[in-house]
Amino acid sequence: MATGLREFLDIVGLSIGVSLTATTVGAAISLPIGTALAIFPFRGRRLLVVLINAFFGLPPVVVGLVLYLILSRSGPLGSLSLLFTPTAMVIAQTVLAVPIITALVHRASERAWARYGDELICDGASRIQAIPQILHIIRAELLTAVLAGFGRTISEVGAVILVGGNIRGLTRTMTTTIALQTSQGDLSLALALGAVLVGISISVSATVFALAGRARTAGSDEV
């Protein structure tokens, strides 16, 4: 029973760890890109923004399959031996998180740039220097964007089961455990773990909602 509890905690820890890492890496990529997309005018920007928003609905199982083929030892990145490791799961979830975070950051940056862009330029800031300042202005929305990315990654099963392989003690997450327990007919165990997963994703969503509410109030104060 004690080992069962430890294994359970390891699974919950791995799920949160992988998703948190993916969200962090995703945020590091998405924050500057999302804001830069709002600040720098260039040909094809509109199309790029449409594409990023379209990738909101990227099916996890397709992301998993493509990464499986890339990370396979007979694939282009095979020499890294990443297939069936937690790192592969982080990569897959990062791919899923980036479009969501980027799109949300872009939307908020666009509004902030329309309102403060001229001031920032007049103060002598270059467009590159304006990126951190815009990110500072939209910090409340940033948290919303990052948490939305986390919610997307912690709840998906299609990508992690393909590139992680659902290996006990190594790549077994909450969602893949639920899939496995269901397949063993252990529906009550699967449901219990499902409750934990729902608890985590509800907490994340509630936090997002509360923060988004505060951001809206703060925004209306300024206007």
Partner: protein, 273 residues
């Protein structure tokens, strides 16, 4: 500052995650039944305690497991489809193939038994009866060893049910447990390996309908990969595990595994069936 602490935490997580690579470990691509039945979870700690080697099990069904090995993504195979295995060996992918255990397939079905096949031991006659009664039948449809065994039985029965034309033949494209869940929910017949059946916890009204046919024997083999075709995989470490499975100690561990007082796998390395 909050962002920085999250970054630090993420870096720590990455560091923890990448550490197991330093230990000795292999990837074992296996049929779903040796995992779903609980066999590997039961015997692996004994092997790891003895050798310090961690066996990472990717349970996929025999067809996919063989493909995973063909792509270089597994170090060792534990599978149960004699014909597909023979093809794998003929292609030169395997170096050695040894039987470790056997059990048998059974046909399970609803206790109401609409096709009147319960209690028999002729699997082919049972399939014919199910087809002519158009009683619901769940097929794995996933190129697994059990799926292959099922299709061989249909062939002997002179039938080729088409899931797109015949409503009673339901191809679910899933693992053994999913097939049993589906059969239980739809009051359907299905072919199952005995190990998964005995350890399955959602039987509903399902009961064993047909068993004891010599055509229902289910053999499990361990396959080591060819060093010529797969120089990148961990052949030496994989061999340690393969050798242990057929050793006295490994065979005893397999034979000792029971679920509710019933033995699931019969060790057979010394006398292959």
């Amino acid at each position: 500052m909050k962002f920085r602490s999250i970054l630090a935490l993420a870096a720590a997580i990455v560091a923890i995650e990448s550490s197991p690579a330093a230990e000795q470990s292999i990837v074992l691509a296996s049929t779903t039944s040796v995992e779903a039945s609980g066999l590997l979870a039961n015997i692996l700690p004994r092997f790891t305690a003895k050798t310090g080697i961690t066996v990472n099990v990717v349970a996929q069904g025999t067809g996919k497991a063989l493909d995973t090995a063909r792509r270089d993504d597994a170090d060792l195979l534990l599978v149960h489809d004699p014909e597909a295995e023979k093809q794998f060996m003929d292609e030169g992918h395997g170096a050695a193939r040894r039987q470790i255990a056997w059990n048998d397939f059974i046909i399970v079905g609803p206790s109401a038994d609409p096709a009147h096949v319960r209690g028999g031991n002729d699997s082919v006659a049972a399939l014919k009866a199910i087809a002519s009664a158009q009683a619901a039948f769940v097929s794995r449809g996933d190129k697994s060893g059990t799926n292959a065994a099922e299709l061989r039985l249909w062939k002997i029965a002179g039938q080729t049910p088409d899931a797109l034309k015949e409503k009673w033949y339901r191809d679910i494209g899933g693992g053994m447990g999913q097939a049993l869940n589906a059969a239980s929910a739809m009051d359907a017949y299905t072919l199952s390996d005995r190990g998964t059946w005995l350890s399955f916890n959602n039987k509903g009204s399902l009961v064993i309908a047909v068993e004891g046919d010599s055509r229902l024997i289910n053999r499990y083999d361990v396959i080591e990969l060819s060093p010529q075709k797969h120089p990148g995989v961990k052949l030496a470490t994989a061999k340690v595990f393969a050798d242990w499975l057929v050793s006295t100690d490994g065979q005893q561990a397999i034979g000792a595994y029971q679920v509710s007082g019933k033995k699931l796998f019969n060790p057979s390395a010394a006398f292959p069936k």
